[in-house]
């Protein structure tokens, strides 16, 4: 496994490569808000052999550059990931997305259909069914909260994110890792940029085109997700022809961390379709 930075239109994106090159197409993993490539750590070793694996920190997350005014909307991230595929000489890949990463994956499958060989959506955003009430309230309070210390803002976020975990020890460790890049004043500003970009405009815009997705698609959901209800997954399955939906009992939002074997099992099946 090796990590590298790639310049995509003037922004430095971090990714790490894993897996083994073989006959299978590459697999690209995209995380959501406000996580990082870490969310896939326990899934990556379980990816079937013969696939080049690329795990990305989206712009403004993990080790990638801060946004500093660049477009961090779903569409903006999708364009940047296409740029990353170009930089890595990947023409055609399976895209796996969690949370906002699932929205990015949907956009790629709709707007760049010949670059997406297969699609996997895990507790994904979709339609106009996100963001949740908590995010909307937090955004409404941004004129106030953007002047508060980063530690104060992050303490609220930390408590909210923990609701997405079944196992609190795991959640505490991961949430600390996810929030670390946002703990400085500059980090707080980046966090606010992400908050402002949490918007369903793109997933709503592509809704009528989901029926045109021709890539084999698998949808996987933690049944008890408090942020993105499984109804989104059911609707995605209805809209995307031939897609499968698997629901994991008890698991909440962070399915890649809390049910990595199930994620790998569904991905393995998808890669043979």
């Amino acid at each position: 496994m090796r990590g590298e930075f790639v310049d995509v239109n003037g922004a430095r994106l971090y990714y790490y490569a894993a897996g083994s090159r073989g006959a299978g197409e590459p697999v690209i993993f995209l995380h959501g808000f406000p996580t990082s490539s870490h969310v896939w750590t326990e899934v990556v070793p379980l990816v079937p052999k013969g696939h080049r694996v690329v795990v990305v920190d989206l712009l403004g997350y993990g080790r990638s550059d801060r946004p500093t005014g660049r477009d961090v909307s779903v569409r903006g991230h999708a364009e940047r990931i296409i740029g990353l595929l170009d930089a890595l000489a990947i023409n055609y890949a399976a895209i796996v997305g969690h949370d906002v990463g699932g929205g990015i994956a949907q956009t790629m499958a709709v707007r760049w259909p010949t670059r997406v060989s297969r699609l996997m959506l895990v507790n994904s955003v979709g339609f106009d069914m996100w963001p949740g009430r908590e995010v909307k309230v937090a955004r409404a309070m941004l004129p106030l909260t953007r002047h508060l210390p980063a530690t104060w803002v992050l303490s609220i976020v930390r408590t909210d994110l923990m609701r997405g975990y079944l196992t609190s020890d795991r959640g505490a460790h991961s949430v600390e890792m996810y929030l670390r890049p946002f703990s400085s004043p500059e980090g707080r500003d980046a966090f606010m940029e992400h908050m402002m970009a949490l918007d369903s405009a793109e997933t709503k815009a592509i809704e009528p085109r989901l029926k045109d997705i021709v890539a084999p698609t698998a949808i996987l959901w933690g049944a008890e997700d408090p942020f993105l209800p499984v109804d989104i997954g059911r609707k995605l399955q209805t809209e995307i022809a031939g897609s499968t939906l698997s629901v994991v009992p008890d698991i909440r939002h962070f399915t890649p961390e809390e049910a990595p074997e199930k994620v790998a099992e569904v991905l393995g099946q998808l890669l043979t379709r």
Binding site: D86, A87, N91, P113, T114, R115, S117, V214, P216, A241
Partner: protein
């Protein structure tokens, strides 16, 4: 499973013959099933009606090489290079150039 997908994509094309992306999807399923003649036919129809960014031409070239139609594969790669450059995918264009060299150009 591939056979089911192939049948489903054939049905989708039959239902929507003017949808180029359905043809692209059918071509990909045909490639998985090693039905290269059907794949090449569907990719040609797709490329005739869709402004492809390059990858479709590359996949057509793959199918044509399997069919032993090397001259046509070279032509597909040349068109793919043009499309990839036009849409700002230089590494894809470079890869197709390398494949052209492998095919003896």
């Amino acid at each position: 499973m591939t056979s089911q997908r192939l049948d489903a994509m054939r049905a989708m094309v039959a239902k929507n013959p003017n949808n180029p992306l359905a043809r692209f999807g059918l071509a990909n399923e045909a490639i998985k099933a090693q039905l290269y003649g059907e794949a090449a036919e569907q990719l040609r129809l797709y490329l005739a009606s869709y402004d492809d960014e390059g990858n479709g031409y590359g996949r057509l070239a793959d199918a044509l090489v399997h069919l032993g139609q090397v001259d046509d594969a070279r032509e597909a790669l040349r068109r793919g290079i043009d499309a990839a450059r036009r849409f700002g995918h230089p590494t894809m264009a470079n890869e197709f150039e390398a494949r052209l060299e492998e095919l003896g150009e």
